[in-house]
Structures are given as structure tokens and as C-alpha cells.
Symmetry: C2
């Protein structure tokens, strides 16, 4: 793998160990890690110097179950045997999108709405790079109790997206999620299952064969270490990652007041494209979709692949104009991204090292900026390097 040397092993180990002390997304822990780093934070929490009382109580009860450092070592060994890896910020394949959770503020003071900070680490099974997989990705999620209408529409949609080179991201559940993964696999495309349990025992077991196929050609990903149970609240925690890591989220079917509705409100809050497939008003499985269309003005109706591409392509379309006008580039992009973009050859590909040299930037900066530019649809990764993206053609409605 090209790119910087892997992040410091002690940092990686500390991030894994922190997973035993608090659920992913915990605001206090994430903030401490941002300020002092993962190792110092782990030391501090294990030393009992914990400002927040809820967190203090959690740390006390969880350390009683075992030494987090030791548990982390075991988990990493277990992952290694399983062919899984743990990815942390600083690794070249860290998906840039999840960093948007750093500043997400949601209404409602409960834990689920407050503890939405970025993952500390991501456990991954599968041979593809995370950042590449998410650069052009759409989440397709919905009801477990899907109707034949819902699975039919999901199949068309996910197949079409995968066929056009978009990664289909979903949650691995029965119903719409499984239909989305399967259609992407059938199209020979890339699909990512974002799990609420360990990547060694993806839930539900009834989808085991599908998960194996995803691990072979796509990616299984989780914030929880191998062996973790799919506890109920973890699905809600997990949903924020699906919303943040992708360019947009499509809800195909959802019952009234379902988890899909929560996912889409996060999607909106994160500035990602929020899309809904309508259905018969006589179907209970479309009630949540229609609720969303009534209550979330940012939610857009999509009826097929072309509409979804029109939505997620807009980001690229808009920004794709930028390289032509230097003033715009300087206005809308941060300085480093603009430098990287200007250093790109007008035709053909370039390797990150050459790009770093030409732009006068460090390789780490260049790789991070490339992830962002790729997510924005400005550059595309190819086998032998990166290239300027051609403007996305407007899909017919």
C-alpha cells in the first residue's frame, strides 16, 4: 500500500482499548483523545481521573470485567487470525467522511443524540481500502420487514449504483439492507456492510453466506472489536457512521418512527444528501418514508438510480467546475486542497508521491486532501494513481 507509514502502534492499541471503556461516539472520550491523544487519555481514564460522572461509572464497571489493554491485545490477535485489521485516523485508508461527526450537533439532549463523535477506530474485513470504498458511496437502507415492492426497488437501485461504480453501503440487516448488498454483489460492484457488532460474527446469522461474500469482494466494517454483541443501542450508534461516511443516504422502505428515519435526520444534519423512495400510501412500510418527506424539507424524492446519481452527482458537478476558474478554487477549497488540485496533471494519472513533490506538501497531507477531493468528485483513483475527474454528466431524470 502506498502512503505514509502506519499510525503509531501504541496509539492504535490505546484506541482499541478505549472501546472497552465507552461506546463509540462518546463525546467526552473523543474530546480527550483530540486534545491529549489516545494513550494519554487511556492512562488518565484507567487512573480514575475522569471529569464526567457517567463516564467515570462506566469505566469503573467496565474495567472490573478485565484490563482494557490486555483485552485490546487479545482482540488484535483474534482479528489477525481472522484476517481483519483495525484502521485508525492517520492511516491512509481512514475514511474522511466520518470526521464530519466532529462538529455534529443534534437536537435532543439524550445520549444517542449527544454522543455522535467520530469513531476512534474501525475494524475491517475485506481487501479494499476503506477510503476508496467510501469516496463514491451511497447508503441504501430501510425496513427489515420489507415488502416485495421494497426489495424490488432496492434491487434495481443498488444494482444500478454498483454498476456505475458507486459503493453500496448498508447495515447488513434483513429486508432492504440485504437486498441492497445482494444487488451490489450481483452487479459485481463494491458493497460495505457497516455492522453494530464484531466483524467476526456479523449479525444477523441468517445473512451469514451474504456476509462471507461481502468479506470476499467488499468490506465488513465495525466500530466494535471482534466478539462484540449486536446490542440494541449499538444500531443507533452505528447509524451515524453510515450517514457520515457516505455521500448520501437513500431510504427505500421504513415503518413509522423507524431507525431509518433517525439515520436520515443525521444525514441531513451532516449536510449529506437525504433521499427517500416513496411507495403506495396504502403500505405500512412506506409510512416512514412519507413522514420524512413531510417533515424534513431537505429530503428529496428519488425513484431510481438516475435520480440518486443526480443528487449525489451534484456535489461533483458543482465542484468539477472549479479547476477551470482559479478564483473559485481558492474561494471554495482550503489552501492545501487547492494546491493538490493545481498540481494534478490535466490528463492522465499521477502517484501521490509525485503529487506531494509537485505541490510542495507532505505525503500525509496530500493523501488526506486527495480523499476529500475524491469524495467531492474532483479526483478519481485509478490503478496507477489519481486523475482529475471529468465533470459528471447530468443523469436523465
Amino acid at each position: 500500500m502506498n502512503g505514509p507509514s502506519p499510525a503509531d502502534d501504541a496509539d492504535r492499541m490505546a484506541r482499541v482499548a478505549l472501546t472497552w471503556l465507552a461506546e463509540p461516539g462518546n463525546r467526552a472520550v473523543w474530546h480527550l483523545v483530540e486534545v491529549a491523544g489516545a494513550e494519554a487519555t487511556l492512562d488518565r481514564l484507567l487512573g480514575g481521573d475522569i471529569p464526567e460522572s457517567t463516564l467515570r461509572a462506566a469505566v469503573i464497571s467496565r474495567t472490573a470485567a478485565g484490563d482494557p489493554r490486555r483485552l485490546a491485545e487479545v482482540a488484535l490477535l483474534r482479528a489477525d487470525r481472522l484476517g481483519a485489521r483495525v484502521v485508525v485516523p492517520g492511516d491512509p485508508e481512514w475514511p474522511a467522511g466520518v470526521e464530519a461527526l466532529s462538529t455534529l450537533e443534534l437536537e435532543g439532549g439524550d445520549r444517542i443524540n449527544r454522543d455522535v463523535r467520530p469513531p476512534l477506530c474501525l475494524w475491517v474485513r475485506g481487501g479494499r481500502r476503506l477510503d476508496e470504498a467510501f469516496a463514491r458511496s451511497v447508503a441504501v437502507v430501510g425496513a427489515r420487514a420489507a415488502t416485495s415492492y421494497g426489495t424490488h426497488v432496492t434491487n434495481d437501485l443498488a444494482y444500478g449504483l454498483a454498476e456505475r461504480g458507486w459503493t453500496v453501503v448498508s447495515g447488513g440487516a434483513f429486508g432492504i439492507d440485504a437486498a441492497a448488498h445482494r444487488a451490489a454483489l450481483a452487479a459485481g460492484g463494491l458493497t460495505v456492510a457497516v455492522l453494530a457488532c464484531g466483524v467476526d460474527r456479523p449479525y444477523p446469522a441468517g445473512n451469514a453466506a451474504m456476509f462471507e461474500r461481502i468479506a470476499e469482494s467488499g468490506l465488513l466494517m465495525s466500530e466494535w472489536p471482534p466478539g462484540s454483541e449486536p446490542l440494541r443501542h449499538r444500531f443507533l450508534i452505528r447509524n451515524r457512521v453510515i450517514a457520515a461516511a457516505t455521500v448520501g443516504t437513500v431510504i427505500v422502505e421504513a415503518a413509522a418512527r423507524s431507525g431509518a428515519v433517525q439515520t436520515l435526520s443525521r444525514t441531513v444534519a451532516l449536510g449529506r444528501r437525504a433521499m427517500v423512495v416513496p411507495g403506495p400510501v396504502t403500505s405500512a412500510m412506506s409510512v416512514g418514508c412519507h413522514e420524512l418527506l413531510r417533515r424534513q424539507p431537505e429530503t428529496v424524492v428519488v425513484t431510481g438510480t438516475a435520480h440518486v446519481l443526480e443528487e449525489v452527482g451534484r456535489i461533483g458537478e458543482y465542484l468539477a467546475e472549479i479547476p477551470r476558474g482559479r478564483e473559485h478554487a481558492r474561494d471554495d477549497l482550503d489552501e492545501d486542497s487547492a494546491l493538490v488540485l493545481e498540481a494534478m496533471p490535466r490528463r492522465g494519472t499521477v502517484g501521490p508521491e509525485d503529487l506531494a513533490a509537485k505541490a510542495g506538501l507532505g505525503i500525509r497531507t496530500v493523501l488526506r486532501r486527495l480523499s476529500l477531493l475524491e469524495m467531492a468528485g474532483l479526483v478519481v483513483r485509478q490503478d496507477n494513481g489519481v486523475a482529475l475527474a471529468r465533470p459528471v454528466r447530468k443523469a436523465p431524470p
Copy 2:
């Protein structure tokens, strides 16, 4: 009928005669009538003093077919035999909503988008007052080639609206329109068919039995005199009246680029509630509905009667607060309407004459203001007079 003496017979006759010289909605003719009155306008046009060349050509070719004054007399006699009447502005039952067309400006310079001015007169069959019928009215329109899904949803919706005292307005066509009229009739409610041909020969003939029932318990209404053909362009001209006369319009099914889509863009431009029933994305008859939801941000998804009432009720809800705060009433209502509202008894009904005496206003003014206040949901007409409306309860979503 209570109220002022009927508008001047010469004015009525002139308005009818003008229908032979230009299609309803004609901007130049309407403007001349506004400035100089119908009789002077008719004299001027028949005298050949016509500023606009298109109109001049039309008048020349149409007067060749006969004397408009004579044709108007014949039409009025024919209407009389049929039990039909012609209603003109100034008549107490003139529906206030159509006056919103006075200031409607649409994009696109073609005739259909330019000539959207109010009707000069309305031909009516049926025993109900037009103004009362439209005061609490919702248009339910859609595809002629409706699916069983569309007619099923229309039936539920129109029945529910009619049952709750809302007039169901539609265009009398096959499919969604007919389903809407029939459901309103079945509910024992009030329904109005707004036609693009004479009220003596409602089109299509296949719905003749339905039209007879509407004439008995509801209203048939048209801008064209008895005997007029349902020419293709007249449906588009007619649509602006459906949009303007009602509080809101619901599209149940519509194919891509259908007339329903045009009706709803007029609805939006007129500030009326624009509502769409979604459907399966696999149905060609819902493509127009989903298009509208994607392209017209003002369009709201409705899935049943409760949603529609929530939308059209909002106007009433909002304004219903006004009587409690006098400052608001003076801010938001014109002076005469505020006087009428203040003269209303807090409980029970009052006759228009008593109200006029109490408010210190002419009966004609009071009746006009009552129509507006009724349309706004502030007052309701009852058998023995008018009463203050109780605030509309928010329907459950």
C-alpha cells in the same frame, strides 16, 4: 337568495357576449373590462378599436360567425330552459378565490401562461351557491388512465374530505376526477365539476349519469356558454379556475408531463396548498407526482384525508387566532373584514342584514367580506346565518 340585487343585466349580457370574442382568461379583454366595464369593452371591440393585433384578428373572425349580443341572448335563454344560470362578479355567490387570478404572473410567454386572468362570468347548474361551495373546497384531480391504486386512494381521500364538510372539486374527467366526484357523492357531500365545455353537455359523455347526479346535489360550472365544445386548449384554460377557486389542490396520479402538473404549478403560483399523493415508483401513473415532489419545493406529500386537512386547515388555524387579538386583526385583515369580524356574535348565528347594520357597512360589502372570511376559515355559513368558526383542530398526521 339573500343579498344585493343581481348585478346589472346589461353588464351580465355584455360579459356573456365577450365570451364569443376571446377565450376566458384573455389578459387584454379582462383589463379593458376592469377599466371601462363590460358593456363599453364590448362596444369598443365590436367597433373594431382593438389595440392588440391577436385579439383584433380573433374578434374579426368570431364576429363573422354571428352577432355576439344575439348569441348571448340565445345562450341565456337556452340556459334558462336548462335550469342553468350565469354568475358574474358583483353577484353575491361569485367565488372570491378566482379574483386571485387578477395578479397571477407565470413564467413562459405563451398564451396559456399569459392569459390566466379571472373568468368574466361563470355558467352554473345546481342549487348550491358557488361562494359557499368553494369556501371550504379542495380540488382532487389526476390521471384519466388511473390505476386501481389511484382510484382507491382517491375514493378514500374524497370521501373523507366530503364527510368532513369540504367540497370536492374536480374536472369531471374519467379516472381520478370521476373517482373524486363519485366518492363525494357517496359521502353525501358537496362536489363541483369545473368543465371545459357547456354545462348542458358535460364532457365526457361516458360520465353523463354522474354529471346528472352532480347537477342535482352539487354544481356543474363552466366559463363557456351552453353548447360550447370541450376543445383541447380549454382544459388548460379551465385548470387555472380549479387552482384559484379552491383552498388547495391534491394530485393523486399523474403521468410524466401531464396537465395535472400544470395545474399544480398554478396552485403554487396562486399561494394555494399544492399537495401530491405519492405512489409506487414502479407505476407510470405516479411519475408525474414524483416529478412534482422533486421539482416544486412547495409541494407537500399527503397520504390521506388527515394530511390534506392539516394542509388546508393551516390557513384557518392561523387566521382563527386573529379574533382573540385585536391588533392582529387590524394588522392582517382589511378594515371592512375586521369590522365584519368584530360585529359577529361570539356564539350563535347572525343574518347578513343584521351584521351589516351592526358593522355599519353596506350589505354588499358585508357579503363580499363574509365570503373572504369564510374562505379563510374564520366564519362558517349555517342554515340560519353565519357564525364564527371554531379553530380547526389539528388533524393527526
